[in-house]
């Protein structure tokens, strides 16, 4: 059995397609690390000039304003809220000038919490706006984006304030290697990994059909052979994570690696999307994302195995890629979403957003949770493997 696995591994890693895929992935990773990652400009950045301009404007207003009984309501409102706001801003400015990042983090956390209280809860959202970066043309959900960003930043900076590790601007702006990984997991990385996994494992059974007599000689049952093949494909797909390590190192040496105890904000949906924001550690986030990636790899590989023995066509295996994009048709922001859709395994493709709960915020539902996702994916994987077991018992179909 070990011999079979070793042989399959050797074939897998000497397969020309797989080598090319690994090289492409490596190049793409390095391109990202060298050219795209430094260009990343967070909307919630540490911008001294912006704070200073805002602070001085408001201070000037406070110094000159004269509130009478017939003053405009907005003037009164500003007169009431600016002093506390400015207090936080001046603390932030002083802390930045003194290089005291811990005080800066604390003041910033308060600032975000207080700002959101005013911008969101006061109901004056027609006049008041979050950081302008959210209000780009074509963004139909800019206000809600800003709300999430402010509250999650408040939680994040609150954690930085009493952190035991060294702080830096890179950590604040989420530029370190681990935080870049986290951002990518919330956007395109899951798709890339899953598509690479599909391409890697696509021909793992079909290549044997050219040498049937050799394959039939192995003293293993077809089901066992398929499972071992699946294991090899899983190991090979995990190698694609290793291939991304150089890119990770490049970002790490440029911007710092960050630590595993960095905070990642997790959202819990509550009625009217007024949920709670809490923090989890980066380590936990990565472990749970990895668990979901592993489950997805298992599903894709077992689907490849199942399709290979039933339909015996490499092109059909490629159509498995569709399952990654089915979700986009029914999970749309702003739509009314049925709960039963969360029992479909396809609903859990956006791994990072599922783990951090951002998906719940965007879709305004509480049905897509991480635990449920892992259970649904696990059930789907087991079901497919059970199907493989049944099908491989039919002699005509086994490889």
């Amino acid at each position: 059995m070990i011999g079979y696995v070793r042989w399959e591994l050797k074939v897998f890693f000497s397969n020309r397609k797989n080598i090319i895929l690994f090289i492409l992935l490596l190049l793409a990773g390095l391109y990202y690390a060298l050219y795209l990652a430094p260009d990343y400009q967070p909307i919630e950045s540490v911008n001294k000039n912006e704070i200073e301009a805002r602070y001085e404007d408001r201070q000037e207003f406070l110094d000159t304003v004269e509130v009478r009984e017939d003053s405009h309501p907005m003037t009164v409102f500003s007169y009431q809220v600016f002093p506390e706001w400015n207090e936080y801003d001046s603390t932030r400015l002083d802390a930045l000038a003194a290089g005291d990042l811990r005080t800066y983090a604390e003041a910033t956390s308060n600032w975000y919490a207080y700002s959101d209280e005013i911008l969101f809860s006061s109901g004056r959202d027609f006049f008041l706006r979050y950081t302008t970066g959210y209000y780009t043309y074509g963004n139909n959900f800019s206000h809600s984006d800003g709300h999430y960003a402010y509250l999650s930043s408040a939680v994040r900076y609150g954690k930085y304030a009493d952190a035991s590790y060294d702080l830096s601007i890179q950590i604040f702006e989420e530029r370190t290697a681990l935080q870049t990984l986290q951002r990518l997991l919330a956007s395109s990385l899951p798709y890339i990994l899953l598509i690479v996994c599909l391409f890697l494992s696509n021909d793992i059974v079909m290549k044997d059909r050219q040498h049937l007599s050799i394959v039939k000689g192995f003293p293993l049952t077809p089901f066992k052979r398929l499972m071992l093949k699946g294991l090899v494909a899983l190991l090979g797909s995990l190698t694609s994570l290793v291939v991304l390590v150089p890119a990770f190192l490049v970002i790490g040496f440029r911007e710092g690696f960050g630590t595993l105890s960095l905070p990642v904000v997790r959202y819990h949906f509550e009625f009217l999307n007024l949920g709670t924001y809490e923090s989890m550690s980066m380590g936990l986030f990565l472990v749970q994302s990895l668990a979901m990636i592993l489950l997805w790899f298992t599903i894709i590989i077992s689907l490849v195995l199942l399709m290979s023995i039933i339909l015996k066509n490499e092109f059909i295996n490629l159509t498995i890629g569709i399952i990654l994009f089915i979700e986009a048709t029914y999970y749309q922001r702003g739509a009314i979403i049925d709960d039963w859709l969360s029992y479909l395994p396809t609903s859990y493709v956006q791994i990072g957003n599922i783990v951090s709960g951002y998906r719940q915020y965007i879709l305004a539902i509480d049905s897509v949770t991480m635990i449920k996702g892992q259970l649904v994916l696990l059930a789907a994987a087991l079901l497919i493997i059970l199907l493989i077991w049944f099908v491989s018992r039919i002699k005509r179909l086994a490889i």
Binding site: K17, L24, G138, N139, L311, N313
Partner: protein, 382 residues
């Protein structure tokens, strides 16, 4: 040659590859209906509301001053203010269900906005304002709606919007679909060389038969997809073939939906031929299915990876592999080359087809003569 085509059909009839393509296309049509039902794709209400918020954010960049006084207000600021009053007309039109106000506001807005792109300090507010291309497309669309006195489509559950979505997605993926589907077009020949070389036909007619049978299949697929999508859209929504659709072809214009469908159909047909021809070419160079698929992907994305290529060379076929982005002018916008239009796309594709066929014929003819010479040298045994 037609007997060979018949043989190819008989052999390939049971190939699951062909069925899987049809399966994908049907799944795609179902998905597009579900998507349109759920998404805010081209919904006017959220779109206009977001536009108002974005423009207000742009105005936030300035201090409030008297916009009528040209001493204190910059031209950019005055332009933004007048945009915002036209935008208010659009909001009013939506709110009061008054089409004329909306369309009037929209056409005025595009005219006013047209001037902003050359003003000083435009970069600071660029992210809050549609790009020049989007504005021109909007302008063409609303002017045409006004001229033809068409109804305004506030929601997206209607025939023209579905067609736009359908061609958007199909135009995006069609090259890759046909490219991947045809990527093993000649691999059988390499795998069973002696068998294939035994056909009593010239290399040209053999190639031609293969190409034609693949093309026929893609043609059937395309007709099937268009028919199913259009008929089901006509059943679900009401058929409306004369509604204007804006597109880019050197300048920005609006054409009726039926013309748009026809253009898209012809374009995708040409694109299929190009994809198959490129597949044949790649099959000649590489003998590995996956390498061919990867190269197809590379060709498709080359214009995004290296926009400079498109800037200097508008005649490269790679610029035209994505129907949607050519038709809405975004390739032209991205590369900064206004010569990348649908018309040039047709010409370029036909020309590159000619070049590819000549090259293929030359290459395969050479290999055939080489093979024959070898056979002659060894007394007919090979």
């Amino acid at each position: 040659m037609f007997r060979l085509m018949k043989t190819i059909f008989l052999v390939e009839r049971k190939n699951l590859k062909f069925r899987s393509i049809i399966f994908i296309l049907i799944l795609f049509i179902v998905g597009s209906f579900v998507y349109l039902d759920n998404s805010q794709f081209r919904e006017l209400k959220p779109g206009t509301a977001a536009e108002v918020v974005a423009l207000n954010s742009a105005l936030d960049q300035f201090r409030n001053v008297d916009a009528t006084d040209s001493d204190v207000a910059s031209p950019l600021y005055r332009n933004l203010i007048s945009q915002s009053s036209n935008l208010a007309n659009r909001t009013l039109g939506l709110l009061m269900d008054d089409q004329d106000t909306y369309i009037k506001g929209a056409t005025e807005l595009t005219k006013v906005r047209d001037e902003v792109y050359t003003m000083d300090g435009f970069e600071d507010v660029a992210q809050f304002i549609p790009t020049y291309r989007q504005n021109q497309l909007d302008g063409a669309l609303f002017t045409e709606i006004q001229n033809q006195e068409e109804k305004l489509l506030v929601h997206n559950s209607n025939f023209p919007t579905y067609i736009i979505l359908f061609l958007f997605a199909l135009g995006y993926g069609w090259y890759l679909l046909v490219g991947i589907f045809s990527s093993d077009i000649l691999l059988d020949e390499t795998n069973h060389k002696s068998l294939v070389n035994g056909y009593p036909l010239s290399i040209a007619s053999k190639l031609f038969a293969k190409l034609l049978s693949y093309f026929l299949f893609v043609f059937i697929c395309l007709v099937l997809t268009f028919t199913i999508a259009i008929t089901s859209a006509a059943v679900i929504y009401n058929m409306d073939l004369s509604y204007p659709v804006a597109l880019f072809n050197g300048d920005y214009l609006a054409i009726p939906v039926w013309q748009y469908i026809c253009i898209a159909f012809l374009y995708l047909l040409c694109l299929s031929l190009v994809a198959i021809a490129v597949s044949i070419l790649l099959n000649h160079c590489f003998k590995n299915l996956y390498i061919i698929i990867f190269v197809h992907f590379f060709f498709f994305f080359i214009v995004y990876l290296l926009p400079v290529l498109g800037k200097w060379m508008s005649f490269l076929p790679f610029n035209y592999f994505n129907f949607q982005t050519v038709a809405d002018g975004s390739v032209s916008e991205m590369t900064g080359n206004t010569a990348i239009t649908l018309t040039n796309g047709f010409l370029t594709m036909l020309l590159s087809l000619l070049v590819i066929f000549l090259f293929i014929y030359w290459q395969f003819h050479r290999s055939q003569t080489k093979y024959n010479r070898l056979k002659d040298d060894q007394g007919g045994i090979l």
